[in-house]
């Protein structure tokens, strides 16, 4: 693979992490909606990614009134919900899916906070939620990916290996350990193709990226140790 191709691939990975992080962070506003309508959605060959992109494009291409209100309502319905029993939405926090009582700010949040700080990253003061929010976990991978790209361009092989390993382990130990459950909840609670598509797209992309990282690092994916099969 040529250097230009590798750089393009790394840039696309970072752009996708940034894109997904933005979609989970807050509702779609006018500026982001205009960006979504002008974007090109690639066919990747991954069934989940392609299905997700198709649903999003289909939703955006369909005539409807008050699309921003429609999306805001579905965002609230999907990720915030109307109940307080811990089972009424696809809560975008790792702690909810990894704690026995589905609470926020549990052990998972402490773990990811340690990882962020070990990599010299901390949340912005304006962010009032937990650090284990999926938007922040995706943004963390984006930031590591940007450092990886810079290290690759500077021929710092050791740093490249270290950052690849950081991404792989974070994906394997954290994001992909709980996101499949959230993806199932998104399918259940969302009523628009837009957020259903987002759920599938994210699942497909994370799986693909884990395979990519495992392939580069020479790690053989062991089904017995796969956190998804253990769950």
């Amino acid at each position: 693979m040529s250097e230009a191709t590798v750089i393009q691939l790394l840039e696309q990975r970072n752009a996708t992490y940034k894109f997904l992080s933005r979609l989970f962070k807050i509702e779609v506003d006018q500026e982001f909606y205009d960006f979504l309508c002008s974007m090109k959605y690639p066919r990747t060959g991954n069934a989940n990614v392609d299905a997700g992109y198709q649903k999003i494009v289909k939703y955006l291409s369909t005539p409807r009134t008050g699309v921003l209100t429609d999306l805001a309502v579905d965002y609230t319905r999907t990720f915030i919900g109307a109940g307080n029993d811990g089972y009424s939405a696809a809560y975008p926090f790792e702690s909810v899916y990894t704690s026995p009582k589905r609470l926020l700010m549990q052990g998972a949040r402490d773990e990811v906070l340690v990882i962020y700080r070990a990599n010299g990253i901390d949340k912005n003061d304006s962010w009032k939620e937990g650090e284990d929010h999926i938007a922040l976990e995706l943004e963390f991978l984006q930031i590591i990916g940007e450092r990886l790209l810079e290290a690759y361009k500077a021929d710092e092989d050791q740093k490249v290996d270290s950052l690849l390993a950081t991404q792989y382990h974070f994906l394997h130990d954290h994001l992909l350990a709980w996101y499949p459950m959230m993806a199932a909840d998104i399918e259940r609670f969302s009523k628009t193709d837009f957020y259903k598509g987002l759920g599938e797209l994210t699942m497909g992309f994370l799986e693909t990226d884990l395979e990519f990282l495992a392939d580069i690092l020479g790690i053989e994916e062991d089904a017995e140790n796969d956190p998804q099969t253990l769950a």
Binding site: T5, L36, K40, Y53, K58, L60, Y87, D193
Partner: protein, 301 residues
């Protein structure tokens, strides 16, 4: 002073805190353990989500499906302050209109008044109660996944373009075999949503007869004719009348003492009959002026 101890002093001295505790009847329990009731800590059931609880409740207490007429009546009854607006928009949509022009019509109808419902909410309410229908509506969200070929056709039909090979933005690969051209989906800007009134919606508009309603009220309550005349005459000038001015004209009139009525009661009746209209102050309409004529509803009384 005699001290009164609740316990036997001898028992207190004989008490050994380290001795095993024995309960009365404990030997009987140990003799036949199978016959005894064992109390285990209650394991709470897995919490059902609101969705599951709602589904169970719907199964236990089924809600009858409403007809379209009933849905429309319920929506209008549930939003009494928006009744005139809702009926006006249904009437206006006898012909198909785009959503932007419906929104403009809603804003124009409100004449600068503040409405807690946005124009999009009004349209959504009318669509939900099936008084309006979208003529270029998307397929239902719950449709099953189609085959890839059909899916591509569906996206094309919905307005998105076919996957195109991107030749402009991607950097030229050094080896064409290593980096095949990417295919992309693009969002085609959707056409405006268009709406038209349903037959049941138009029936609701036709059934609305505020003049007949007011006439029936006046037939039953002719005593209030002077009050209505006072309000209509005082509102019939360019500055109109404020609520306070109408209060001063009406609230202390002997006719309003038994039963006790205030200006709002009469203003509501006149507004419902389209005899007065609020444009920063209350103004008499043409319908209101006709009521005052000799052969009008009020003038004849």
């Amino acid at each position: 002073m005699e001290e009164n101890y609740p316990f036997d002093e001898q028992e207190l001295e004989d008490f050994d805190p380290l001795a095993p505790i024995e309960f009365e009847g404990e030997e009987e329990e140990d003799a036949n353990p199978e016959d005894q009731e064992y109390y285990v800590e209650k394991v709470p059931p897995i919490a059902a989500s609101i969705e599951e609880a709602a589904a169970a409740r719907r199964a236990k207490y089924p809600v009858p499906e409403l007809t379209r007429e009933q849905k429309i009546a319920k929506a209008i009854k549930g939003m009494p302050g928006q009744k005139k607006l809702l009926l006006h928009i249904i009437d206006w949509c006898r012909e198909e209109h785009e959503d932007a022009s419906i929104i403009d019509e809603i804003i124009a109808f409100e004449r600068g008044s503040v409405n807690t419902f946005s124009p999009e909410s009004i349209i959504a309410t009318l669509v939900r109660c099936e008084a309006l229908k979208q003529t270029n509506a998307p397929a239902p969200e719950g449709e099953e996944a189609k085959a890839p070929q059909e899916e591509a056709e569906a996206i094309e039909a919905a307005g998105a373009e076919e996957p195109v090979a991107d030749q402009e933005d991607a950097p030229a690969p050094e080896n064409a075999e290593e980096a095949p051209q990417a295919e992309y989906l693009e969002v085609k800007k959707p056409e405006a949503a268009r709406y038209i009134a349903t037959k049941e919606g138009l029936d609701a508009v036709e059934a609305e007869n505020p003049a007949a309603r007011f006439e029936a009220f006046m037939d039953a309550n002719p005593v209030y004719a002077p009050i209505f005349r006072t309000i209509l005459e005082n509102c019939d000038h360019p500055e109109g009348c404020t609520k306070k001015q109408i209060d001063a004209l009406v609230d202390h009139d002997p006719i309003c003492m038994v039963p006790r009525r205030f200006s709002g009661y009469f203003v509501d009746k006149l507004e419902d009959a389209d005899a007065i209209i609020f444009e920063k102050t209350w103004h008499t309409t043409e319908i209101g002026r006709r009521m005052l004529e000799e052969d009008g509803i009020i003038g004849a009384l």
